[in-house]
């Protein structure tokens, strides 16, 4: 379970967050570009918090050293973002399993086969990143973020520019992975993709994170 209650003063905007994501739950946050970096950094734990606390499966999430955070990400959390590029000199398979190498572990090829099935990687494994299309690139990024049954995966703007069918395919993949690996997922997206069936939904309003239901009741009141 991912739980975050904090205030960040990034860019002089108070961002009061109360974000809770249960296991196997997909939290969908629609946000506008203004708060993109602040929200993403706060959720990932990169942004120093002015106040508050966070935990992942009961373990401290905020206010730990950079190296601890790196190891924590490597072992328990993953990020899928277009900014977090694949290493151009490694094939997709090695890119997905890179955390094993960084940890000094052997590759778990049995587990990898499972990933191939969930993320449709059969034709991509041996390819180099430069040989991938945009969608295929996103697929590999997604697989990398889930590698080794991560507890939390944060997906940032991965399918903002995709067609609806493509997005559906990705949501399908994510949902399968969540069920298979019991992961909590936070999706940050620019557009409100209401047709997705997701467990929870948050929206931004005046720099604050508000649950979709509360937001809709506010709108109705207005």
């Amino acid at each position: 379970m991912f739980n975050l209650r904090g205030i960040t003063d990034k860019e002089k905007i108070i961002l009061d967050m109360k974000l809770m994501v249960e296991r196997e739950e997909i939290c969908y946050i629609v946000r506008n570009n203004e708060y993109k970096n602040a929200l993403f950094s706060a959720v990932c734990g990169w942004e120093p918090m002015a106040a508050g606390e966070g935990s992942l499966n009961g373990r401290k999430w905020l206010n730990i050293s950079l190296d601890e955070k790196a190891i924590q990400f490597r072992r328990t959390a993953g990020i899928a973002s277009r900014d977090y590029k694949l290493f151009s000199h490694m094939n997709c398979k090695r890119n997905i399993m890179i955390s094993d190498e960084l940890d000094g572990d052997r590759h778990d090829f049995k587990l990898y086969r499972k990933y191939v099935t969930i993320f449709f990687l059969d034709k991509l494994s041996e390819k180099q990143p430069k040989e991938l299309s945009e969608c295929q690139y996103a697929q590999v990024l997604l697989a990398r973020s889930f590698w080794k049954r991560k507890s939390l995966v944060i997906i940032d703007g991965l399918f903002d520019n995709m067609l609806e069918e493509e997005r559906d395919e990705f949501i399908f993949m994510i949902r399968n992975a969540v069920q298979e690996f019991h992961t909590s997922v936070i999706i940050l997206a620019a557009k409100d993709c209401t047709h997705f069936e997701v467990n929870k939904k948050y929206l931004f309003c005046n720099g604050k994170l508000i649950p979709q239901k509360v937001f809709q009741s506010i709108i109705r009141t207005i």
């Binding site: 990169w46 190296d67 790196a70 490597r74 990020i79 977090y84 094939n91 890179i98 955390s99 430069k130």
Partner: protein, 830 residues
């Protein structure tokens, strides 16, 4: 927006960028300082070499005047002074030759001279004045000491001279003196004008001709206009062109300048390229704000000229001081002494060279920077030098090493120059180090000395007739305890008419191959004058040497024999002489001609037979001045026979070997003799010191260039490592966010730089060993004072330094990047 104006917003960005690029600008300053320093050094050294050679040649000529005219009528002097191309005229009245016995055969003229004439002949008083009253003289310190008077104003000295067959003697008060120049053949005693006039002496003038005029043509006009007779005038102007050519043909300077130029262009270009790549976004922003290509270029040029304005004066100042410190050790040649010639204008050359270097190294890069595409500028690059990525696999290697290898291939253009410079530098230094340590002191000593000690008289020339007091010291020294072996050297020079066959031999030698050898000697007008005289009337200078003891043994070593045989018993009979020959590299055709073995020679009226032609060890004749500029023939006789021919001539030089225990006591005695009498002595220690100076003079520049190459390589590699880390700071954050720890990133960066250094070192070792074992070994075997001595010590010493450099630098750079990023984040937070 006009082309010339840069909008204020752009101006602000430029200032901000200048501050942001502090590191790069400091690096550029360091490189330009180094570059201009080396340019200055390599300008100051040849300049001083030229000036010293010019001085040496002028001193050998005896004057700095272009033309000297004797016996000019009084009324002609003002007319000559008013001659349109005459810039300076010095006037003198000849009285007589000084005939004091103490002066021996030293040419010493008594004259009146005005200030200009005294300066022309390098004999202007540095203490006191020129004489005004009839009982006053100005005189050189060496002449004074010979006359037994200490150089002090007010002291009196007795001068003897001859006038019309009658000898005169008078006492004069010293009113001025100067240090006699060792390179001058004739010395002067200046008297007052009134004193000189009373002797009805002839006028002599020295004139300087306008620099833009051809002196030979001008002399012809003067001769015609003043109706001068042959022998009444002579041209002394030196052949500047020949001196300049001699300096320009010293390829070491050219190589050094080329190396400095290439290194500087590579380094400056690389730093600028990296800086431009790093500032792509900035230039894109400028363009987006409306700046034109020209304006962007102007921004970069402006920044560069500012850096140049700071660094160039620093480099020139450092170069000036270092250059003048190095001049005494770097200048090669047979000068009696090396003088420093300060000329601030000479710095124009290194300044221009530096500006050209900066311009050439940056021109294309800045042109390209102006052409930057806005979209490209803001795009995040992952492909380093924009080269296509090829798949590489390094199975079994840890991922960090693999990543570091990949990163290296991304930035290979940048690393390549650094690696190349380090390789060249290491190989260069190792090669010259081997040359340095292969100089063999023992071989050098074997050739440059024939005994442990030698003691020279204070006037070693072929007309000085030796020194009576040296003869007395010889008796004292040779009887001293600890002296194991000794010998004396006598010398007497005189002019003799050469047999026709000998003179023909000499003429053929110098005038064959289209007068090639004669043309080579044209830099020395006195030599040419002697040669022409020999050609005209057969008159040639003979140097007759008397030898005994260990000097005979030294000459008769079998290695010195060019032709004939050495038979000491026959030689001691006094019927034979040994002629000096100079062996050439390519057989008999290359030998300087003299008499041949078996031919008869008349010396001072007595006939001798040439027993052998020998290559006489240099150390025997060392420090002896030739009155004929080296154009003479030398013959060696036993000293007993020499004494019968020249009974008044004393020893010029003593040689002796000593037992080890007596070394310090003999050394003390010789030091005291040197202080009291002005005799100079030479010991093994002095020769070894001189040898080290020569080694430094030969290899000093090369070693400096080698160190500069390594330094340049390290700076270039450091710059490449540093800038690649700065450029990738975003990448490092992404790496850490997908799970790479700081330690892992640091290890990856260290592996990158270690790989570069490892490539450099391995290549240097392979290439260095090959070059040392083949080329250097071959070169050393062809050198007379060298014994091949293998070593790769410089590489072994520099290896750990380079490895430490490769570990420390990326760590520092990474820490700096992280601190900068944190600083930026904290500023953004505010």
């Amino acid at each position: 927006m006009s082309n010339k104006e840069v909008p204020s917003a752009v101006q602000k960005l430029v200032h901000r960028n200048f501050k942001t690029n502090k590191g790069k600008n400091l690096l550029l300053i360091a490189i330009i300082v180094l570059c201009s320093t080396f340019y200055s050094i390599f300008t100051i050294i040849p300049y001083n070499e030229y000036k010293n050679l010019e001085r040496y040649t002028q001193h050998k000529n005896g004057t700095s005047a272009d033309i000297v005219i004797n016996d000019l009528k009084d009324e002609q002097i003002p007319r000559l002074k008013a001659w349109d191309t005459c810039t300076l005229l010095g006037e003198s009245l000849f009285v007589s030759e000084a005939e004091n016995e103490e002066l021996g055969n030293q040419d010493t003229e008594i004259r009146y001279a005005d200030n200009e004439y005294a300066q022309f002949f390098y004999s202007f008083p540095t203490v006191g004045n020129m004489p005004q009253a009839e009982d006053e003289i100005a005189i050189g310190t060496k002449t004074l000491r010979k006359l037994g008077v200490s150089p002090q104003i007010g002291n009196t000295v007795t001068i003897v001279w001859n006038e019309g067959g009658e000898q005169f003697k008078a006492e004069f008060k010293v009113v001025g003196f100067w240090n006699d120049d060792d390179e001058l053949e004739t010395r002067y005693i200046w008297v007052s004008k009134n004193f000189a006039k009373s002797y009805k002496s002839g006028n002599t003038v020295g004139i300087k001709i306008d620099d833009n005029t051809n002196v030979t043509d001008e002399l012809e006009k003067i001769v015609k206009d003043f109706d001068l007779q042959d022998g009444q005038y002579y041209l002394t102007q030196i052949n500047y062109c020949s001196i300049a050519v001699e300096i320009l043909l010293d390829f070491t300077t050219w190589i050094a300048l080329m190396v400095v130029f290439i290194i500087s262009v590579l380094m400056l270009g690389s730093v600028q390229q990296i800086s431009i790549s790093g500032n792509t976004a900035f230039y894109g922003r400028l363009k987006a704000m409306g700046a034109e290509e020209k304006q962007i270029r102007r921004v970069i040029w402006k920044e560069l000229w500012l850096v140049l304005a700071v660094s160039l004066p620093i480099g020139l100042i450092i170069g000036w001081y270092t250059g003048y410190k190095l001049v005494p050790n770097m200048i090669r040649g047979s000068f009696s002494y090396v003088e420093l010639y300060y000329n601030i204008c000479i710095l124009i050359i290194p300044a221009i060279l530096t500006i050209i270097t900066v311009f050439i190294s940056n021109f294309k890069k800045i042109i390209d920077a102006g052409k930057i595409d806005i979209e490209q500028a803001f795009k995040y690059k992952v492909n380093g030098d924009n080269e296509p990525i090829r798949e590489k696999k390094y199975p079994g290697f840890p991922i960090l090493f693999q990543m570091s290898m990949d990163n290296l291939s991304r930035y290979k253009k940048r690393s390549r120059i650094g690696i190349l410079l380090i390789i060249i530098g290491l190989v260069w230094i190792s090669s010259f180090y081997v040359i340095n340590i292969s100089f063999d002191e023992n071989k050098y000593l074997a050739v440059t000395r024939i005994s442990d000690y030698s003691l020279n008289s204070n006037d070693m020339s072929d007309d000085a007739m030796g020194s009576a007091s040296l003869e007395e010291y010889a008796d004292f020294l040779f009887g001293h305890e600890g002296i194991t072996d000794h010998g004396k050297l006598y010398l007497q020079g005189y002019d003799e008419i050469l047999p026709e066959k000998v003179s023909n031999r000499i003429v053929n030698y110098y005038e064959s191959n289209n007068r090639e050898r004669l043309k080579y000697m044209s830099y020395d007008p006195v030599w040419i004058q002697q040669y022409n005289q020999m050609k005209k009337n057969g008159k040639c200078r003979y140097q007759i040497w008397g030898i005994d003891g260990l000097v005979i043994d030294a000459i008769m070593e079998q290695g010195n024999l060019i032709s004939g045989t050495f038979n000491k018993d026959e030689f001691m009979t006094g019927k034979f002489v040994i002629a000096q020959g100079i062996s050439g590299d390519e057989g008999l055709d290359e030998e300087e001609p003299t008499y041949e073995v078996g031919e008869k020679i008349l010396i001072s009226g007595k006939e001798y037979e040439i027993m052998a032609i020998a290559d006489v060890p240099y150390s025997i004749k060392q420090n002896v001045k030739s009155s004929s500029a080296g154009f003479e023939l030398s013959f060696f006789l036993p000293s007993k026979e020499f004494g019968s021919l020249f009974p008044d001539t004393n020893a010029q030089k003593l040689f002796f070997n000593i037992a080890e225990y007596a070394d310090s006591s003999i050394s003390k005695i010789l030091t005291k003799i040197e202080q009291d009498q002005g005799f100079t002595f030479t010991s093994d220690n002095q020769i070894i010191q001189q040898y080290h100076n020569e080694v430094f003079a030969q290899n000093g520049v090369e070693m400096l260039v080698g160190y500069a190459l390594i330094l340049a390589g390290m700076v270039q590699m450091g710059n490449s490592i540093f800038s690649s880390i700065i450029n990738r700071k975003k990448e490092f954050f992404l790496m850490s966010r997908i799970g790479m720890t700081q330690k892992q990133i640091k290890i990856m960066l260290i592996l990158e730089s270690l790989t570069c250094i490892a490539i450099s070192l391995i290549s240097s070792y392979i290439l260095g060993l090959a070059i040392i074992n083949f080329f250097i070994k071959f070169y050393i075997s062809s050198q007379w004072a060298m014994t091949y001595n293998f070593s790769i010590s410089p590489m072994l010493i520099l290896t750990p330094i380079l490895l430490i450099f490769a570990i420390v630098l990326p760590m520092l750079a990474y820490r700096w990047v992280i601190n900068q990023e944190m600083h930026i984040q904290s500023l953004e937070g505010e």
